[in-house]
């Protein structure tokens, strides 16, 4: 009798072990395939923004004005000159890193921190900045303004 019971118990254990193996195996397979499935379907924004940043529309920037925009992790400044053309630069002042601005009354770029002045080619006109502002490229496609690294 005891042997029979033992055999039954053994069978039961073996079956439940197989069941446990099957169940946990399913769990493991799910843990592997679920992330892969979610990965292969693209997120809402399907790709990284190119380094080509859209700054805005031509109509939105009046003549003789400037606008600071985000260029990747750095600030940039785009200026529409009085003749309608666009120029863009890195907006980080080369002196101590403040963000520059466009002065319509002066017709050139100015840094408020220590009174540095830059012309519309990025060169230093006066003040403490030791070197010119990095120039970016501006592309106009239709009514849209795109800025890329120079």
């Amino acid at each position: 009798m005891k042997k029979g019971e033992k055999m039954e118990r053994r069978e039961f254990l073996k079956k439940s072990l197989d069941f446990i193996i099957g169940g946990s195996l399913l769990g493991v397979i799910f843990s592997i395939f679920y992330p892969i499935m979610k990965f292969i379907f693209p997120p809402k924004l399907p790709e990284a923004p190119q380094f080509q940043v859209k700054v805005g529309n031509v109509d939105d920037i009046p003549l003789n004005s400037g606008k600071v925009f985000r260029f990747g992790t750095r600030p940039g400044i785009i200026i529409r000159k009085s003749d309608g053309t666009f120029v863009a630069f890195s907006a980080t002042c080369t002196h101590l890193g403040c963000i520059v601005q466009y002065r319509p009354d002066l017709g050139h770029i100015w840094c408020a921190c220590h009174n540095g002045h830059f012309d519309l080619s990025g060169n230093v006109l006066s003040g403490p900045p030791p070197s010119p502002l990095e120039k970016f490229n501006v592309k106009i496609i239709g009514n849209e303004i795109y800025v890329t690294r120079g």
Binding site: K14, L17, D18, I20, I21, G23, S24, L25, G27, V28, F30, S31, R70, T73, H95, L96, C98, I99, A112, C113, H114, N115, G127, P128, P129, P130
Partner: protein, 409 residues
Amino acid sequence: MKRIIICVIFLLIYRFSFAKEDSCIECHNELEGEFKKPVEMMKSDIHYKFGISCVSCHGGNPTIHDESAMDKKYGFIGVPNKKEILKICSKCHSNPEYMKKFNPTIRVDQLELYKTSKHGILLEKGDEKVAVCSDCHSSHGILPPIDSRSTVFPQKIPETCGKCHKDKEYMKEYGIPINQVEEYLEGVHGEALMKKGDLSAPSCNDCHGNHGSTPPGVENISYVCRECHSSAADLFVKSPHKSAFDKLKISECEACHGNHKIEKPSDEMLEPERGICSSCHEKDSKGFLVSQKIYSDIKNLKDKIMESELILNKVYKMGIEVSDAFVMLEDAKSSLINARNLVHSFEIEKIEEAINEGLKICEKVYNEGKKGEKEAITRRKGYGLSLIFFIILIFALLLKLKLREEKTL
């Protein structure tokens, strides 16, 4: 033999032609100590490089090879006194036609300016202790200010002015402080110039003037600081403080920021009880209440920025990508800088505009941080769940193996 004779003749001609050029240099070069020093220093002197030598300043006859070269009849004046030095230097340096030949853009108004300076005024009255051209520029071995070895190179100027102005004994009779250089070096401008090497930082001459050096008048201090700090100066000039300070003869920027030991401005300067505002504004007066509001607004934004930075750092350490949020936070920091600058206007509405802009950004950043926190916890929960499946499977398989081995035994 012929060749040797020709060589000797050439050598003698050469030697004597050198002697024809400059007996001063030749003789003094043979001497020792303080008589030889000027010759050594002249080697790097900018005048010497242009062919201007001892005679141009000291007179004498450079072709005579003995002590009779130093005779009054040749215009020899030996070591000139202060008033003589002025005349000697300005003989050329105030002559635009002459200076144009060497440097078309060099200024020629130094003497004119000097005459308006404290040094110039005192010298006119007969004070021989004051600084004159050679005291700052040195007498032999003069170098242009852009040469880093020059005594008037920006980083060398505090030392040059300090030669007299730090000397207690020397300055005793003038009754002015002697700690300016020391204080300047401890302040932000001194640190920027001397430690960080920012040559655009002001040295003594940038605020006091080079040749026309005078302590700026009380109403003019803001114009001096304005040269670089134009934004703060503009705001100040338009603020109610300008007329008030001028009326009470309080020296504008200097009153709050100091003159030589300009400390890095801190928000604590605005603190109602211990800050600067309360030194004029009585407790509970209008001005006092405004300063209280400004202080609490700025402190609030600063705290919010730190809070956002803390959560972003925490979340970054947990493995979440938050570089975009960090970039957004930089904008908030810019708003804080802007607000701090706007303090000079003492207009609470303007300041609060900048503060609110910063607070809006902080809120967005903080939310990004919170989102990241949630994501990090979700990841760890998912990891934990799948870990359970893995561990169960591993143990179950081990057990199965053990059973199999028992079976085969």
